[in-house]
């Protein structure tokens, strides 16, 4: 049995294709898309070699020894998926979509073991083939259905929960799309790199209500329940580039003269480090607002906004 971890983009088809969403099929891309896409792919190969070889080694070990595979799953996936499922409030027998499952879909395994019915999809046919075999070998084929599909082609309305793997890219375009299409009752979980992992995985933060669970080994899980997405959100949660209309302003003598008043259009132009102030501009006028105050300024975001790649 040849297996590898879902977070390995080592298939011959290349990283982007293995990740469940490809650029070509995505009509949401602007004209600037292709160049950026290519650049990211190249930089991925450049930066990634040492980390990739480490992961490759583990994969190889997993494929050869089922004992090693069990340990690997235990260390890297058990707590990760359990904490996500708990934060997402996943019920047993829920229908879950797993985008970018890869050839060794440990996340799907964990979800299935937690009682969910999983539909795992990947865009790479070889990975799908291997994942099917792995699921059968683990005795979970009754609960896991592996499909060869592009993640964005799936009708997400059928699912109670959507899990997006860490390596899925470009998250900035996939996540807002999933958020738009999914039902109000469902929950979206995706993973962001923190720390050094940022160097080779895309990071994404949505300006909507979300839970963030810090995970082992430089990852964090973002859990968004669609019905909890408020119309309004605190200014302190918006990232640079985001804009919206001010819905509520606390009583503070300095805010209204700077234009920070109800109904005004506001743009976040920066966030200072060490929990420093949020720099905003209203009517072409810049001001810095302390984060504790920005928490109480409520904004209706203009759209689901692309956020920073750090």
């Amino acid at each position: 049995m040849k297996t590898c971890s879902p977070s390995t983009p080592i298939q011959e088809t290349g990283y982007i294709h293995a990740s469940g969403c490809s650029y070509k099929e995505d009509p949401m891309h602007g004209s600037r898309g292709p160049r950026r896409q290519r650049r990211r792919r190249r930089s991925f190969r450049d930066v990634n070699t040492p980390a990739l070889s480490a992961v490759k080694f583990f994969e190889h070990m997993s494929s050869k020894h089922s004992f090693f595979a069990r340990k690997y799953k235990r260390i890297f996936y058990h707590n990760l998926v359990r904490s996500e499922a708990a934060a997402a409030g996943l019920k047993s027998n829920a229908k879950v979509l797993h985008i970018g499952c890869g050839p060794m879909p440990f996340t799907s395994f964990e979800l299935a073991q937690a009682g969910a019915y999983v539909t795992a999809v990947d865009i790479d046919p070889q990975a799908v083939e291997e994942a099917r075999r792995a699921a059968a070998a683990a005795g979970l084929d009754a609960r896991i259905q592996v499909l060869h599909m592009d993640g964005i082609e799936v009708d997400v309305k059928e699912f109670d929960g959507i899990w997006v793997s860490l390596h899925v890219s470009p998250k900035d375009e996939i996540i807002p799309r999933l958020l738009r299409d999914m039902t109000d009752e469902s929950v979206l979980v995706y993973r962001n790199p923190r720390g050094w992992l940022r160097l080779w995985y895309g990071r994404c933060r949505q300006p909507v209500q979300q839970k963030v669970v810090r995970q082992f080994l430089g990852k964090e899980s973002i859990i968004i329940r669609k019905q909890e997405i408020n119309e309004e959100m605190p200014l302190s949660e918006l990232y640079p580039g985001a804009s919206g209309v001010i819905a509520h302003v606390p009583d503070h003598p300095q805010l209204s003269p700077l234009g920070i008043r109800q109904g005004k259009h506001i743009t976040v132009s920066g966030r200072c480090m060490f929990d420093g102030p949020v720099v905003v501009s209203v009517d072409g006028r810049s001001s810095a607002v302390h984060r504790s105050l920005a928490q109480h300024i409520h904004i209706i975001p203009a759209q689901i906004i692309r956020t920073v790649q750090q």
């Binding site: 003598p253 920066g270 060490f274 420093g276 102030p277 001001s287 607002v289 302390h290």
Partner: protein
Amino acid sequence: MSHDSRFQASVLLIGPPNVGKSVLFNHFTGMEVSCANYIGTTVEYSTGAFRGLSKEALLIDVPGTYTLEASNEAEKVAVEMLTHPTADKHEIKRGSSHCGPQSAYAPGKPSAVLCVLYAANLESSLHLLSYIMDYQLPVVAALNRVDIAKKKGIHIHHDKLSQILGIPVIPTIAPTGYGTEELKQALDETLFGNGQNQVSGVQSTDPLQRWKHAEDLASRVAHKDHHPDQGSTPGDLLTRPWPGLPAALLILLASFGLVVGVGMGLRQFILLPIFRGYVFPFIITAVESILQPGMLQRILIGDYGFLIKGIEWPFTLVFPYVISFYLAMAILEDSGYLPRLGALLDGIFNRLGMSGGSIIPLLLGYGCAIPAIMATRALNTRKERLIAVSIICLTIPCVSQTGAIVTLLAEQSVMVVAGMVLFSLIAAVTTGVLLEKLLHGPLPAMVIELPELLPPRPKVLGKKLAARSRRYITDGALPMIGAVGIASLLYETGIMAVFGRILSPLVTGWLKLPEEAAVPLVLGIMRRELSILPLLDMDLTGLQLFTGALVGLFYVPCIAVVVSTAKEFNIRTALLILLGTSSTAFLIGGLAAQIGSILF
């Protein structure tokens, strides 16, 4: 209450912060009130005779306010001035950051208001104007900075605005003087002509309604060419960690280099040769020809001869740094960079119990602690002010001290100067962290406007430098000459030797300095730089120089600073700061001496 007999009218200069009121004030009165490109420069009102009107009138520069709801100190001053100005309370609080013939002002209801509107942001200016018009006084409006508005693509029909409001509205550009003549004429007409200019206010108490009114009015008279792109401006970038942080480091290093480099250059190559080559030989021959050798001659031209040291120190040692520091500061002030630095550092400053806005008083402290202490008034909480003032008094050397320290240590090596800077930074952070823990109070939540980034104008810089130099000679150099005079008297009469013996356990035992180093410790109480300067002629070792400079750095702030601290807070606070600084000075200086003597 009536006006001073000399003045037949008084005009209040009111407007939002950082709109250029003080620039207009200086233009109309010929005075030199501090101006800078950030809010809170004017924390006190200043008065001056309005030049060029047909009759004598008094112009009063009021601190900038956004509203007239008296929600902070500056607004309270403005409201007081509009209704029944009682000058006495503020008169006492005045410091040296503003100068002017305060006594000329006798309280009374102002005859008219000159309201300065910010053309690039008409809305909030009109909001303030609506408050002012509620007071039923004649109003003339200056529509200032029309050049910035034009750059932003905003066109304002000032005639239409004037028509709607029923008051004269004159477009101006204060730094260049554009429109000021028309403004003067309009004001003259309003004050002494027979033109009717009695305005009626909005008479609305609901703040939202008032804003609505201002917004409507602004949209009626102003139109925008194009929407300025929402992309990040260079100003925005400076508040982001990248590239803001490296940029901040570069800018601060460049300023430090400018201060030390220009200062040392001026001293070494211009001032010192002139004074040593021409002035001192002349003085010495003059004194020697008049006086017989004796105590009097020694007082004048001896070791502490006040005609020698009293002229050498203020003019060749401190003066170059006054020029270089205020040059750097003026560039920083006028560019509008400092509030951005404040925003960038706010997160760090919060951990020291301050908000990013404290960066302005702290930097001003490198010039002189007194205006810095005055500038802390713009800070929001008392805790924040106390921490800022403590850091200024303890760890920030004033420009004279900097001059003295650099001169003292640069002969050893520039690295020692860098070591001092490091020491003072560590001490500042420690003070902040400790006081943050000790003092109770909420974390300051800063809201700060980030003004337009503007290139500093050489002409304005030159004017500022000239004003600073004049003020230094009257307020700095003359007292220093006097203090040196007293010192030479004490020294030659042998009183200083008594002090030296009393302090010898501390000075020779703990600090490992020669006995005569007690002299600067006594003098330092009078003026900060004198705690260091006498060490220059003592042939000290490198370690002793470092110890001496360290003690001098942390040692008590000068009497004037203690007095202004007592005025701003209370005597207890001032005494606590005095005690804190002197004990820190001896503790750190002693530790450096003791550890240093073991190591070297």
